[in-house]
Symmetry: C2
Subunit: 162 residues, 2 copies
């Protein structure tokens, strides 16, 4: 495919993040299962439900663009998920594992914050206001999740892990 | 290695970001070469110098912790850099390439923002104030770079690429 317009680049990046979100829906149940602090477990379970909503929202963005929803391998998210999986295989204390899981999850959130920020900007520049609105909704959710994880990390888990 | 304390997790994550920064110092010259907008080229060149300073700063953090500076393969950054490299091989219009390079660079910045945010929090909890201060300096730089890239994307390059 020749990428000769911002619209085509937008679609390529939409496919990237669609694949990334699908990978996250597979990783979160494992992270929820591994987490030991009940608050953290609950946060992962809640974020899984939210992520499924974000996948559906992306499908509405594809629809708004008149394109079929299709993923494209997101290597960055593969690396991020792999790092989180490796953590689950480490010989690690429970409270330290929780801290590590939060760190991994915040890296994932920041990938998404960057990706949705770019997509929203492109949608605005392309005059695709419906798509831009949907992308902004997800961007707000990701930002809130990141803040929640920071609070969990600072308030409880790291102190237990010291 | 048994990761039985936040201190050990901190060191593991320090090694991860040290390896990530070294990968970035290799990727940035290619991105600067490929960028077509002079402002963007200049931003990548400037960020390369800054990144080299961040590598040295990490070495000071290792020193403050009484540990040798040593990297540990950061798979997430490998994925991020690979995505940026793939972009350089696409059949792509120059202005669209610039937009894509900014998008890739912002994903890299956000990985670092998440990583340094976590490290700084850990350093504070561990009472390692010197390390925390150094990490905060880099965190501020990464945040500023991300904002600069957003301004470049919104102001000039994406408009040319529409």
């Amino acid at each position: 495919v020749k990428i000769d317009s911002l619209r085509k680049l937008f679609l390529e990046e939409l496919r990237d993040v669609y694949h990334a979100e699908k990978q996250i829906t597979k990783a979160l149940p494992k992270m929820a299962k591994a987490a030991t602090a009940p608050d953290l477990k609950a946060a992962f379970v809640q974020h899984l439900a939210e992520t499924k909503g974000q996948v559906e929202r992306l499908e509405r963005v594809f629809e708004a663009m008149g394109k079929p929803a299709k993923g494209k391998t997101c290597k960055a998210m593969q690396g991020l998920v792999e790092e989180a999986s490796e953590l689950l295989e480490e010989d690690i204390e429970p409270a330290v594992l929780d801290a590590g899981l939060i760190a991994a999850a915040q890296r994932v959130e920041h990938y998404e914050i960057a990706a949705y920020g770019t997509l929203k900007t492109y949608a605005r520049l392309l005059g695709e206001e419906d798509a831009a609105g949907l992308l902004q909704e997800t961007l707000d959710e990701e930002g809130a999740t990141d803040k929640k994880l920071s609070a969990l990390a600072e308030g409880v888990i790291n102190l237990e892990a010291v």
